[in-house]
Structures are given as C-alpha cells and as structure tokens.
Symmetry: C2
C-alpha cells in the first residue's frame, strides 16, 4: 500500500467520504488510490474556488468534513478566498494539497511555491508529510483537527514521493471530543443579566441558531422578554414559521447601532461582540452602545444546546411556550414590476418546506431576508468571510450534503461571477439547486459604499470599476454554456413562474432576474 492509499483509507476511517477535487500531476497517485479504494464520492470542480466553497457548504449541512484535493501552491491559492469564508464560518474540512516530490523542490520548477506559506493565513492547522510512512498518521491528525468543534480548516501537504512511496497501513482516527460545557458561573452571569430588568438581548451564533438550542433560546426570550439577535451573517440558521423569532443585525453601521441603542444587557451565546463589517471615517468599530454590559456566556466552540438549556432552567423557562414566528406564507403572490418588497413577498410565499437557502444576494438580498421570517421552515446560510464568490460553490456542496432537499441560491450578479464554474458541477451531479441571480448590472453595494466612506460622487473611472454593464452579462446563455436550464424574469409574474419551474425540474435551474 502506498502513502496515497493509506491516506484515502484513513480519511474513510474518519468518516470523510466526499472529496471535492481539482487535481494535477502531483496528485495523480492520490487520484489513483481513490480508484482502488471504494467509498469516496469524488466531485470535480472546474476551478478551485468551487472546490473549497463546496466543502464549506457541505460541512454546514452534513455536520462533518469533506476532503478537498488541490494542485500545489497556486491551486490552493485559487481556493483561498473560499477557505477564508469557510474559516470564518468555522467549517471543518481536510485539504489535501499535492506538492512536488521532496527531492524535486530544490530545483525550483515552474510550479514550486511556499505551499505552507499560502496555506497558513486561511488554515487552522497545516502540516507537510515527511515520508510515505507518516502519511496515514498525518491524515488522522488532519481529520481530528478538522472535526475539532466548531470546525477547523486542516491543510495536509502531500509531496508526490510520500504519495507513491511504500506506507504501512491506514491509521485510526480519534472520535471527535464532545463539545465542552460552560461552567455554572457563566450560566449564572447570563441569567443575572437577563433577570436584571434592563432592556436585554441575547446575541446568538453558531450552533445556537439551530435545533434544540434555538428552541431553548425562544423559551428564554418569551420568559424574560428579551430579544433574540443574530449577527449580520451566520453559518446556518433554522428559520421560518414555527421557529424562534431572531432579528438579524443590519450590515449598515447606523442601522445596527439603532437596533442596539436601547440594549443595556447584551448576552453572548456562540457569538462575538458585534463589530462593523468595515471601518468608516467617524463611525465606531464596536457596535455596543454606551452603558450596555456585555456578558459572554459561551463561545462558538461550546456545547450551546446545553448552555441554553441550563440558562432556561436558571430562568425557570423550561416549560415556557417559545416565542416563534407565525406562518405568513399563505398569501397571494405579488404582481407587477420587480421591487425589493415584491421579491420578499414572492419568496416568502413560494419557498418550499425544508429548503436550504444560500444567501449571497449582496444588495438585493438585504431587502427580503427579513420579509421571509414566516416562510415555510428552512435553513438559511450566509457568506461568512465577506469574500464574494461563495454562493454557487456553497450551493453545490450543500446539495451534495442534503439530497432530497431543495437548495435555493440567491446571488448577486457580481458575486456569482467569481465561481460561476460551479454551474457545470451542478449539471454534472444533477444537483437540485435553483439559482436566482439578481442582475442589477453593478457592484451596487459599492456605489453606496463609495458614499459611505465619504468619497466623492463617482466619476468615469469609478463608474467603470463599479458597474457591470457594457456589455450586459447574459446569464441565460452562460447557464446554457454549462448545461444548465435557465430563464429570465422581468416581472414578478414571470419570476413566480420561473421559480416554480426551477423547483419542479430535477437538477439545477438558473433564473436571471432583471432588476
């Protein structure tokens, strides 16, 4: 058994059985091992940003890491932006990055680069295997790192000779440690803040936004009269009718400050102190109002279900009816011209039960996120690191992880361009993704940001860098180029018909919404 095969078998020992890949020559022995060993589903991406973004989406829905297979430093480089997003989402994944044979590196061949250097900024764990005999144990450590709560980016660099050299055998992978429980003092501090009688809010993050944890939070909110908040972006929230009422902090600094201005006790459960997405001249970085006490009860890595259950018990909320969203989806469909309000009403009515929503509709999406609180129950996944080009890739991985569920990807036209190649993978794998592209023909958010930072009104050079017209992108043709059925909507009626069609077809469908 060579090193590559010992690694594949070790990954399987660690329940890593999906590999998103874009390999090259230095990875050929690993590719060959994937042939010999049964049990790993290999999914090709035409660009590495698709590969790493898919692994992020996969982790968020599967709750376990996938592997990626990348070609030396530059291949890893192409995947870096979505590794950044995944790291900020606290997603776990195991990146296998091929490297030249150890003895070949000194000769500075064209693809030689400092792979560890490329990996480090966007990885939590980095290791280069030193010999074929080490590869299995290194792989086990990589899986263990990736599975460390709440999830970590583990990057294992595999010189070609460690892949083709003779190895011992696969290694065992330790089971993930259970999430640590916070101590009673932290629970007491949180309970005290929420009982203080002052205006209070719980800022929820990570696993606190799902399942039983979220239910406990909804009981606490009902019992204490406090508000449940979440950050602007979240890795995965369970939302919709019958789920907890959670308000999302706005992206715009002034709006976020306004939402928080009366809060005097801010309790953090799985979330960090809220900060502005960007700095703007004269505006604060930290969004906590003066006179507000911040109490951190638990970080994202803790057992948040236990935390919120204990907090509910401390507050006597165990049997309180949770504060949940009423259903609002059984309403008439909006008609006429496409407006942001109309989009919100339309998707609120039509989103199917148990849908997985991928949200990278940067400018347009802000408008309808809040309008869909009473839609049929669904999961909502945000881009976490702010590096656009996450959505098409994440939708691909989410669909692989959640067969039988409809994936709905809301995309800005600027964002979707970065990893458009994901459409081909969706077509090839027959993934049930309905991608809605809001084609406003601009990096419209930046036209606003130019004003927000206090810069002058845009002139010719600024407009040339912030608009996406001349020529307009033809999204229907692009989808066709990747073998994906597509349609265009210029009115809400057309959009409703298109959206229904997208949900009805087996496999991917793209809708260009002309804004």
């Amino acid at each position: 058994m060579n090193g590559a095969e010992s690694l594949v078998r070790t990954l399987l020992n660690g329940d890593v059985n999906v590999c998103f890949a874009n390999p090259g020559t230095s990875e050929m022995h690993f590719v060959s091992a994937l042939d010999r060993v049964e049990g790993v589903r290999c999914i090709l991406g035409l660009f590495e940003g698709v590969v790493t973004g898919a692994a992020d989406g996969y982790y968020r829905m599967a709750g376990k890491p996938a592997a990626t297979l990348l070609h030396l430093g530059p291949g890893l480089g192409n995947g870096l932006a979505n590794l950044h997003n995944a790291k900020k989402a606290r997603s776990g994944m195991v990146n296998i990055v091929g490297e030249h044979a150890s003895y070949h590196i000194q000769h500075d061949a064209p693809l030689t680069a400092d792979i560890e250097g490329v990996a480090r900024p966007m990885s939590d764990w980095v290791l280069t295997s030193r010999s074929a005999k080490d590869v299995a144990a290194d792989g086990a450590k990589a899986v263990e790192a990736a599975r460390t709560a709440p999830g970590q980016i583990a990057t294992l660099i595999l010189p070609a000779d460690t892949a083709w050299g003779e190895a011992g055998g696969p290694a065992q992978v330790a089971a993930p440690a259970p999430r640590a429980r916070v101590d009673g003092k932290a629970i007491d501090a949180g309970a005290q803040a929420l009982r203080s009688g002052k205006p209070a809010a719980i800022l929820l993050g990570g696993a606190a936004l799902r399942g039983r944890a979220l239910e406990w939070a909804a009981r606490i909110a009902a019992k204490c009269g406090c508000e449940l908040l979440c950050e602007y972006n979240n890795a995965r929230i369970e939302r919709g009718a019958g789920r907890a009422v959670v308000r999302q902090l706005p992206f715009a600094v002034d709006a976020a400050l306004a939402m928080l201005k009366d809060v005097r006790e801010l309790v953090l459960v799985g979330a960090k102190t809220p900060v502005s997405f960007f700095a703007y001249p004269g505006k604060p970085s930290v969004q906590v109002p003066e006179g507000c006490t911040v109490t951190k009860v638990a970080g994202a890595e803790a057992d948040l279900e236990h935390t919120l259950e204990a907090l509910a018990d401390a507050l006597g909320a165990r049997n309180t009816a949770p504060r949940i969203n009423a259903a609002t989806h059984d309403t008439a469909l909006p008609t006429g011209a496409i407006t942001l309000d109309g989009l919100g009403a339309l998707f609120n009515a039509l989103l199917p039960e148990n849908a997985v929503v991928i949200d990278e509709a940067v400018t347009s999406g802000r408008a309808f996120t809040g309008a869909m609180m009473g839609a049929r129950p669904h999961d909502w996944l945000n881009i976490m690191g702010g590096s656009i080009g996450w959505g098409p890739a994440a939708a691909t991985g989410a669909a692989i992880a959640a067969p039988g569920r409809k994936v709905v990807a809301f995309e800005g036209d600027g964002s979707a361009q970065y990893t458009l190649q994901a459409l081909w993978t969706m077509a090839r794998e027959g993934l049930d993704v309905t991608m809605v592209v809001f084609a406003n023909r601009a990096y419209k958010i930046l036209l606003g940001e130019l004003n927000n930072v206090g810069a002058a009104a845009p002139g010719a050079n600024a407009l040339s860098m912030l608009t996406l017209d001349r020529p307009d992108l033809d999204w229907v043709a692009l989808a066709k180029g990747y073998g994906v059925e597509a349609g265009r909507a210029k009115t809400l009626e057309e959009l409703a018909a298109q959206f229904k069609r997208g949900l009805a077809v087996a496999g991917p469908y793209l809708i260009e919404v002309v804004m």
Copy 2:
C-alpha cells in the same frame, strides 16, 4: 490631498498608468482618487485572477508595470495563482491591496486576514503602509521594486485610514537602474565552451529571446555551429520567419533528455539549468546529461543584449550571417478532419504578421508550436508558472499593452475555465483577441500524466476527475454570455473560416475547436 491621491500621483510619476482592478469598500478612496487624478486607465476584471494575469500579459508586452487593485486578503488570494505565474515570468507589477483601517483590524471583522502572509509567497516585495503620510514614499518604493530587472512582484497593502487620511504630496520615483553587464571572465568562459569543438548549445531565457540579443545569438550559432535552445516555457520569444532558429525543450522528460543527450557544453544566457516540470518515479529532476559541462554566462537580470554582443565579438561572429528560420507560411491550407498536424499547418499559414500569441493550449498546443517556426514574425508568450488559467487574462493585458496588434490566444478547455470572466473585459474594452479553445473535453494532459507517474489505468473516480464531459461545455454560449462573438469548428476548413473571421472583426472573437 489624501493618502490615496498621493499614491495615484506617485504611480504616475513612475509611469504606471494602467490599473487592472477589482475593488471593494476598503479601496473606495483609492477608486475616488483615480477619478480625481487624470491619466490612469482603469480596467475592471470580474475576478481577481483576470486582474493579476492581465498585469502579467501587460508587462510582457509593454515592458513596464501596471498596477492592480485588489480587495483585502481574499481578493489577493483570488489573484494569487496568476501572481505565481507572473513571478515565474519575472514580470513586474504593483499590487495595491486594500486593508481595513488600522484601528479596525483588531476586531476581527469578517474580511480580516493576514494579508502580508497571503502576499509573501507570490511577491518579491511586500509592505503595509503605516500612515497616510508614508503612502507616497511607500508607493515609490513599490514601483522601484517592480521595475528592478528583470521585473518583480511588489505588493503594497493600504489600510483604509492611510488612504483617507491627510498626506503630504506625491513622491518621486527613481529611474530604473540599467541592467548590470556581466564581466569579461563570464564572457570568456562562455566563448571557451562554444569554441571547445564539443557539441554545444546555448540555452537562452528572458530578454535573450528578443530583439538585438536574439540576433547576436543567431550569429553566434551560425559561427560556432552550436544549437540555440530555450526552455519549455518562456515569457516572450520573438519567433517566425527571419528570426533566430531556437528549439524549445519538450515538456516530456524523456523527450527533453533525448534532445540534450549529445550536448557536452551547455551555455546559459538568461536561463537556468534545465529541470523537469514535475518529478516522476525513476526519472531525473535535472536534465543535463552526464559528461556535459554547464557554463552560466548571465542570469535573467543581466544586460543580455550586451552579453550576447560581447560573446559574438569574442567568437568573431559580429558579421556572421545569423541562422534564421525560412518562411514557410505561404502554403496551401490543410483540409479535412482536425488533427494536430493540420492545426500546426493551418496556424502556420494564417497567423498574421506581428501577432502576439498567448499559448495555454496545454495538450494540443505542444503539437503545433514547433510547426510554426516559419510563420510570419510574431511574439509567443507562454504560461510560466504552470498554474492554468493564465491565458484569457494574459491575452487581455497583452492587448491593452499592444494596441494595433492582433492577439491570438490558444487555450485548452480545461485552462480557459479558470479565468473565463476575462471574455467580458475583452468585450468591454473592445480588445482584438481571437481566442481558440481546443475542446478535447478532458484534462487530457493528466490522463497521460496518470500513466507517466506509474499509476494504474483510470477507473471511475479518476475519469470523473480528469474528464470535462457530462455535460460538454458549450463555448459558443459561454462567449455569448459575456458579449463575445463566437463560432464552432469541426473541420480544418471551418476552422480556417472562423480564424479569418476572428482576425477580421474588431474586438474579441472565440472559436471552439471540437477535437
């Protein structure tokens, strides 16, 4: 004047007047400064790999650096693969990378990352500006670094507050130092090797493959009976009828060893000792045969025209007629099914005079490169770092740098997918690029490499990762999506008609060659 404006004016002082850009919020003051200060041509790329690859192509044809504008760590990450290619090409460029305001970094907002860490592996020079008053001087140093022969990747990181804060004024930029001349001893050593009577070859690289330098080499070859060789990939060669006869070392290790096997004196002028592109079990990394002496006369940074002139004088070759390629382009066009030989003959006949050829036709391209030595005189640019996805971007930059010349980009279907978004920039800027995509529906080179590394025949998993079918990419539809006219060729007659049409239209044209 703020820091951003002081930087724009400094760039202009250093004759940097083209900026390939994909900005975000943290770059808005720089964008605004580009509006206020006249003289910088700003070109938007829909993906950062387009931006950095364009700057590489620009440098190779303009002989001076462009600026790039990138959005924090992840935006730089997206540009990294083509920075790698540019660094290996020894191209100069000035990357301006936005960063959060200095005081905001500590708060770990979503886009926060170790930007210097991301930059370092693919940059020769990295600096973060510390205050608005430093920006101009830092910018001058960046331009000076980028212009250091033969060219360097300079990355300047610009925290938003150094862009918006009050600065002094622009800085002066020192003129580039003239290239260093090699000393007489090195010339004598080279002359002695070439006079030895043993089978000799000169391996040319960098600027030795162009202009007067190349002419001197052709005289030396005629005088001494030695062979002129170049590496497998080169940043820019002047080729075609009337230019020096230079043989390219093959990619395949065995073929390269066979070409070099009788050489006993190998003289390096601007090139490095030849090494294999990848390591393969049982094959050597260094391709110099046993018993062959290697004499390095000059590195890529030296004054190579002077080196070769001095060498010609030492060998009495000043007035020797150079050994040049005979014209072979006035031949009948090949007809019938598309074959590699047919492609070579077709492009040899039809390539227009003074064309700039971008070569990223990985599998197919190898076949016809050699067949075009007698084509009309042209420049030939190779991908240098081996990270595919360079071609469409480099073609964009080359076309900006060389208006009035036809750019012909030969692309593999695998390669072109990584930076396909460049088509939109070509359409927007009306660039005269004819892109020929050889659609063999596979990473065909890797199917060969799987065999070369000694791995087994491909099974289901390997084939799924090495083929580009199911569905076939529709390149004509993709081009249409980006506003680029396109056609498909299934025979050599159709290809000839399409290629003529591509050369005739003003602006970009794409041809899908069905292999």
